[in-house]
């Protein structure tokens, strides 16, 4: 038994004391590399992990390479149009077979000894092939696909566990929010060109908490709310009254709420002028036609921050961001973020969307850098772990009604995280 396991027996990761309405997380879970090693096995190697969006490889032959939860993958659409995910390593002696970030091709040719593979991963050629007596009928010399690849409404996920449950079951209640997002367009959604890739010194779970934390808005994001006021927005004018954190099962959670900001899907702000009002009314009318008023309004007006356990966040706010993040070490993470938008959006609405996105989101935006700073400060605070051991996630416990500024949604994550970490498997 390793050191951490013996410690863990005495000291739980998570304590939930319903009688005292107290929920605590041991700060070790943010700093201990052995816990990270366990997370890799118990969480990242068994959960469905986001790989990419179908629009990133729209045409036969399109591929991209991506590091996903510590593994090098190729995400490719074959000549026949079906989508594959392979481990990006040569079955010969291991070199990364595909060295470009993205492109379109007919074959992958390994630079080392020039074995070549078709886009379905099959070995098609190798120099001095006659010197090989073992044939490849069992596929031993093909690229190795990930155990499971599936998509839900264009969002592709991988799962490295051969015994994994299917993706729709895994997503459970989170599907409701994915639907609300994808239903924005009749034609389909697409990733906008340009990836925000950044990283900083804070444990990945701190970004999980932060991404669904309604409590920190005002203090952390003063810059942003100053901006909204200066832009003529009114903080009280939120369009919808809903304020209820949701437990979506399997560790997924969401907060849904109204907002003072504009939404390029049908909630205009003053800065967009009369034309903006008209454009939005048109989109809303179309949504109403497709879904009826109630659902159309929900799609148009309601914001949400959705966490899909363990490390995918879809924030449908002043724009839509898909954000995923991976641990590099217990105290370091790597973040990738994209903008998702309706394919059939007008040029001017796309411009408004991108402007909106950058007023809040991303490493140069008016809010994300402050989150990043807060998380770094937490991580640094955990240097005092020996003397100050526990984080408190109790807000709202014991109350009949939970609001978005309570911490219920974080407790949903931590319970599932703890359950998986304790599992014997």
């Amino acid at each position: 038994m390793s050191k951490i396991e013996s410690k863990q027996v005495n000291q739980p990761y998570v304590i939930e004391n319903k009688g005292k309405s107290l929920f605590q997380v041991n700060r070790r879970v943010f700093v201990d590399d052995q816990i990270l090693e366990r997370e890799t096995r118990k969480i990242f190697d068994t959960c469905w992990i986001y790989l990419g969006h179908e629009s990133e490889i729209p045409n036969p032959g399109d591929f991209l390479t991506r590091q996903v939860a510590g593994k090098e993958l190729i995400f490719v659409r074959s000549r026949e149009g079906d989508v594959h995910a392979f481990f990006n390593t040569c079955p010969h002696r291991g070199a990364m077979v595909c060295r470009e970030k993205q492109g379109n091709d007919k074959l992958f040719v390994c630079m080392y000894h020039a074995w070549s593979f078709d886009l379905a991963g099959k070995l098609v050629n190798r120099p001095e092939a006659k010197r090989y007596h073992a044939d490849n009928s069992d596929g031993v010399h093909n690229l190795v696909p990930v155990a499971n690849l599936d998509n839900y409404r264009g969002l592709y996920f991988v799962n490295y566990d051969v015994n994994a449950i299917d993706l729709p079951t895994y997503l459970g209640g989170a599907r409701e929010y994915i639907d609300l997002t994808i239903d924005q367009s009749e034609v389909g959604m697409e990733i906008v060109g340009g990836t925000q890739e950044y990283g900083f010194d804070a444990n990945w779970k701190l970004l999980v908490e932060n991404s669904i934390d309604g409590y920190h808005g005002m203090p952390t994001h003063t810059t942003y709310f100053d901006y909204i006021l200066a832009a003529g927005g009114q903080l009280g004018d939120t369009g919808t009254k809903i304020n209820k954190p949701r437990d979506l099962g399997n560790g997924h959670a969401a907060i849904e709420y109204g907002s003072p900001w504009g939404r390029p899907i049908a909630k205009p702000v003053a800065a967009w002028g009369e034309q903006g009002e008209k454009d939005c009314a048109e989109i809303r009318a179309k949504l109403t036609e497709r879904f009826g008023k109630e659902r159309a309004d929900r799609i148009a007006y309601n914001n949400f921050n959705l966490l899909i356990f363990p490390n995918l966040v879809i924030n449908n706010v002043m724009a839509i961001t898909i954000r995923t993040f991976y641990p590099q070490a217990a105290n370091k993470q790597h973040v990738k973020a994209w903008a998702l938008a309706p394919m059939d959006e007008s040029k001017v609405m796309r411009e408004r969307r991108l402007y909106n996105y950058l007023e809040f989101l991303g490493p140069g935006g008016f809010a994300t850098p402050d989150d990043c700073e807060a998380l770094k400060m937490c991580q640094q605070g955990y240097m005092n772990l020996k003397n100050v051991e526990w984080n408190d996630i109790s807000k709202g416990m014991g109350e009949n009604k939970q609001g978005n500024t309570d911490e219920k949604q974080m407790r949903v994550f931590w319970r599932e995280w703890d359950r998986r970490m304790q599992s014997a498997k």
Partner: protein
Amino acid sequence: MNKASNSKRPLADNALPQSLGSDINLRLAVENFLYHEAELLDTWCVEEWLALWTEELSYLVPSTDKPDGDPRKDLLMIQDDRFLLHQRVRSIVNGTNWAENPRSTIRRSITNVQAKVVKENAVEAKANFVVYRSQAASLNIFPGHAEYLLETGGPEGFYIRMKRAVLDLEELRPHGRVAFIL
């Protein structure tokens, strides 16, 4: 000014001394201006820096995987117009920009300056930069180049209409963000 005598000298008579018509002098004038800009930024005189801009403006920092990103079509990291840039400066002055409060120490080197007159009163300039940012125990380096569209005039010789700062980084790691001004 007799434009026919030298097509490279369409600068307004009163904007710059006549002697700045030659390429070298133009470059020196632009260099002076960029050094001045650099000093204002490194010393956190961001309000004075804001005065260097024209009324209509754009300050752009593209995503690291799309250095030629177009703000109307692509996702950038920063695309400020006057209003946003003003807010950005305000957040630094007010201290609500937590990533730069307490302020980091920044120091930039500007080199390889090139400049050419593109039309009456308008100069296109390019320069390499390296910004060193240190805060607490960490030092982050931001290498890259900046493209400018300048207009002649004002006490410093030019106004900035457009600045596009392109980072030579594949990812913003371990920097995490750009919360000061590049």
